[in-house]
Symmetry: C2
Subunit: 479 residues, 2 copies
Amino acid sequence: MKIEEHIKNLFIAPDKSNLNIIEETIALFVTQMLDYLSNANSSAPLPLFRKLPSEEFSIPAQGMDISAIQSKLNTLYQNSMNPANSRYLGHMDSIPTVYSILGEMIASAINNNMLSLEMSPYLTQLEHHLIQQFTQLFELSPETSGGIIVSGGSLANLQALVVARNQALNVKDTGLCFNAQIPVIFTSEASHASVVKSAMIMGIGINNVTKIKCNHKYQMDLEDLQDKIKFHLAKGHVPIAIVATAGTTVTGSIDSLPEIAEIAQKNQIWLHVDAIYGGALIFLPEHKQRLKGIEFADSISFNPQKWLYVAKTCSMLLFKNYPAMVDNFRISAPYMKEQTDFINLGEITIQGSRNAEVLKLWLSLLSIGTDGYRQLINHGYNLSHKFTRLVAKLAFIELITEPETNVICFRIKAEDTNQQEQLNIALQEYLLKHGVFVSVPRFNGQIWLRMVLLNPFTDENIIEELCRYLQTFYDECDT
Amino acid sequence: MKIEEHIKNLFIAPDKSNLNIIEETIALFVTQMLDYLSNANSSAPLPLFRKLPSEEFSIPAQGMDISAIQSKLNTLYQNSMNPANSRYLGHMDSIPTVYSILGEMIASAINNNMLSLEMSPYLTQLEHHLIQQFTQLFELSPETSGGIIVSGGSLANLQALVVARNQALNVKDTGLCFNAQIPVIFTSEASHASVVKSAMIMGIGINNVTKIKCNHKYQMDLEDLQDKIKFHLAKGHVPIAIVATAGTTVTGSIDSLPEIAEIAQKNQIWLHVDAIYGGALIFLPEHKQRLKGIEFADSISFNPQKWLYVAKTCSMLLFKNYPAMVDNFRISAPYMKEQTDFINLGEITIQGSRNAEVLKLWLSLLSIGTDGYRQLINHGYNLSHKFTRLVAKLAFIELITEPETNVICFRIKAEDTNQQEQLNIALQEYLLKHGVFVSVPRFNGQIWLRMVLLNPFTDENIIEELCRYLQTFYDECDT
């Protein structure tokens, strides 16, 4: 059995023999993609959900031709979330930079492997040097700091906590059994679900995540933190880490980092800052001081895949003491060529084989520059201010709290909780019917409408339009 | 501060206003990429390692123009691993399908999020239905089986073991502390490093992975497995899982799955089959029986990113009892819209936000079809047979074992171990100088040369040429 020619033409031949065919194929799919994306405002920001028959997704015996595949992709485009629409305001999933798309295309085409230096000679160096610059942007010590890139923020938080646990309890080799001291992780009620998930995965258990109350700005309550640390220490428990958040998922709040850092230091507890969302403020001189205190963190997670407009996934994990992280985490793989200058990244990451997500980040940074990022991030702040100014005039609307970043939660006020819930769900549907998508998270048991003002094509007119819709919805309800 | 026009033009405007600029940008980078890849045979399969100055990777304040970025990319191309070269035989990293490249491009462009159904209405359905078909290809029970896609095989193995642990010890909530029974994972000496890494991450500890001896074919020794299970049970330890391998990293060996399944069942131990490499044999009627017994597994990990030619990362994890997995793993996130028909995938995966790696797999399957995959996978077997036939005539060469898949380890025989090591390292360098890349893993303390015969453009001539190089190297050494 030989490989038929038409199957071979589904790969880029290394001898130029099928270049024309490949060029044509790629051009057709680029055209189709741009047809859809450059008209993103003509499709809904979120299409009506359509349950498709399972046959739609059947694996064929014989390969299909281009037009049949393009027709499948049309169904995909028509039924996908559409964050490129400038009225898509619902989640932290932004329109990606065009260099994200190119970076992902190139990374998959050359298919290098971040597992080892041999398998990604350039890209391992790139990841190393780029991460070093981010440690400096976060003002970590230039002598000892370092980090890695991982596929998503949950993985970053998990690895930070595994390293903290191994350091606190010295259980890399022995595991947690027979450890008679209960390990505890402290984090606020507003922190990300991945903290609890990490505790479950790493054998700490869901119950041993101690949730700290929030103040009215949805920041970790410092008194409650101190009380709970005291309580657990008195019981003989072992604190593994305090997880502070810079940019919570629902309200974009930033914990009081300098104070938390002091508490962590006083009690000698590992401080992890989940700056997955808010870390982008390193590029905003106007607001960078909101991250003050982050330089005392033992570890920081930050997602370029959110406010840096890099396509998913692209997340980084930085450590104040990189050599200690390597000691506490490294698992060597004997089948990899040993390295001296650059550690094989597969040995110090949860993932082993990994594609070069660093490339889409780097190309975005090269093309946008830190000045461009400053403009983009500022834009979200401007829109937030615009909205809060306008909404202040709508007496029937309440904000969950004054927004600290570009994430805003609001809703229509009502006396009755049930009525309020129905009313606000109806409002979200009303807005969606008018082409504006905001999300409806349940937070502390209550429904809110949530906007993340990320999209560079969302302008002040859209914010004004949104406020008009709020008014008309309210008027219609009233009558 | 406004966003300048040239920064906005680094995004696809949703109103068609910059379509020409975007088209031009993409075309330039596609041309550059194809210039390199369609000439992959003109560059070395692995370039000489070049340590680049850190300034090469500086983040600029002002965005750079296209030509400056393209010049950076030229340095990337010239210094990257080149698996598209048809004499690249060294690792399990193949030339990717062109639809992998397109799939990754489209997935990043639409930037949907596998976290929840709302954020990936089509792609969540696609992942669900595609995974169901794979459970059937592996002959798992159609009633209860199901699975997920994750970013790499290490994550797949980790989640399988976390679920097995939670089921065996019921520690999802409480964690492992105070658990007075030592948990044990059984796996062969030839299994992947991610098994040990998983044990470390999940709090089981490196020491509690019990390595089972291998037989001469590098399969798990069944007697040793039974002895060690008996030993640990007698000590009151709790077996968490047996991890069998279908396609080991170094020799491509497949463990005796029916016998191991019987042992697992008799002792009521979770059976995880790491079929990350060998799972591709489901598409090869000629050799599918080598996977016999896999249908008894409680969980199976399989990587389309290897022998299915899908660009990294793309890995799947299948469970015999999907509802039980959900019970044992799920962590809900209150900020996601609740779903009934399709579980939000972020709640049942280690990663939360995740890009649609399923798309590059699906487009590859649509274009190649199961018949095309049969041709591709067969090709590797044919080349393996060709090599073993030819090398049988070279008395100075030994094989580590008769290859069971398309992974072959060989070396020049020598009396003295030190001399043998030097000789074979010199042989690898000699081959690389002649444009052929094989890898040099250290396995059981010894150096071997390893080939993975994946590339569809590697033909019999290249295998013959390689054998001639072996002869000329040996002749030169002899004189």
